[in-house]
Symmetry: C2
């Protein structure tokens, strides 16, 4: 996590950052709170500069968004080895929220996933690849049950882990964009049912699974006679 702390310039007061960096950080915050409809004016106000200067430095609002995307993605990349080797995708995001300093980043990620676009697709694709690798290791170590289709399971578990957070914030919208508090609330509410589900499953018998497997096999043999 050391690299993450450096990325966030911990110990450096905002006044010491270049205006460009202050604008970028302000944009990450506003985008994270309001979504990408946040105006250049609002970002400029938060950074303490004029709207014109924002465009002067980044060319356009879209270019500023792209810079924010890259910035967030770079921060995540530097931290991901730590996060993924010992956690599920949900914990991956929740871990950021444990440190309130990173709450703006979490807000930005949530907004990016809600809004769609390149960053959302990139994030999901990378999380899925990492999850597949992590799950394979855990299966080999005997901690996770094997799956009949490991790639499909990795994608599904990422969708479930990320999607549950998205749905939760729709149910309990963060106050003043405080994603730290929101995700602590999520962890509090979902830990027990998640662990129950992951440990014990939900259904009392395997009839539905068996029915599906039979159905799938007959479909397959029909397509390849």
């Amino acid at each position: 996590m050391v690299s993450l702390l450096n990325m966030r310039s911990v110990g450096v007061v905002p006044e010491d950052l270049t205006a460009r960096a202050r604008i970028r950080d302000a944009a990450v915050r506003r985008f994270g709170i309001e979504g990408f409809g946040a105006s250049v004016r609002a970002i400029a106000a938060e950074a303490g500069v004029s709207p014109g200067l924002v465009i002067h430095h980044f060319g356009s609002k879209d270019a500023l968004r792209a810079v924010c995307d890259e910035h967030v993605l770079r921060v995540i990349r530097e931290a991901e080895t730590d996060a993924f080797t010992s956690a599920t995708p949900t914990d991956f995001i929740a871990r950021f929220a444990e440190i309130d300093e990173y709450a703006p980043l979490v807000g930005y990620l949530v907004q990016a996933l809600l809004a769609g676009g390149d960053l959302a697709a990139t994030l999901l694709a990378r999380m899925t690849a990492d999850a597949e690798s992590y799950l394979a290791d855990a299966v080999a170590a005997g901690r996770i049950r094997p799956s009949r289709d490991p790639a499909a399971r990795a994608a599904f578990l990422v969708d479930v882990g990320i999607g549950a957070v998205l749905s939760f914030v729709r149910r309990h919208p963060p106050v003043d964009g405080d994603y730290g508090a929101a995700l602590r609330a999520y962890a509090e509410a979902s830990s027990l049912p998640a662990l129950e589900l992951y440990t014990e499953g939900l259904l009392t018998d395997a009839s539905m699974l068996e029915a599906y497997l039979t159905y799938r096999d007959t479909e397959e043999s029909r397509n390849q006679p």
Copy 2:
């Protein structure tokens, strides 16, 4: 499902509907495809009327949105008894997509959940209440395992079921707003991993669950000494 068919005016060609109804249906489609940033002009064009007429009939874009919300919610209410008594929350949405006619409605729901607001909160709250009731019945019937916290589990399973769909459409954005195809793809991709998870769980032992229960109990006794 008969009432649903009536609501959608099946067998009635668009030209037979009043302009007000055509505008509302066009708005549901455009909102479902583009999100709620869809312009009044785009909605008017899709309905084959002038922008002014849209405002004339509904007063404002927000009022039109509210009418769409009510319309969608009413259609769902008429169908929900059918859908919830025999399906998980995910199936509830997927079932709509089985009939391409209802794809615009699914698109609208997805956009509403992504955008947040009253309809999203209302939908989630009602799905949760219904899921809790459904789960209780299934537990009583011996089909679903009991939970240590049934209310928390119902909320979590709704978040998981809905959220997985939201995340999936971010990964595979619908082409031309075809949510029918998108959700068939979702069902195809997630059926096996979902059934594995619900039938067998994910973890090979109960140590994480037990650790959490111990932690939770000590927290409780500390707060109530």
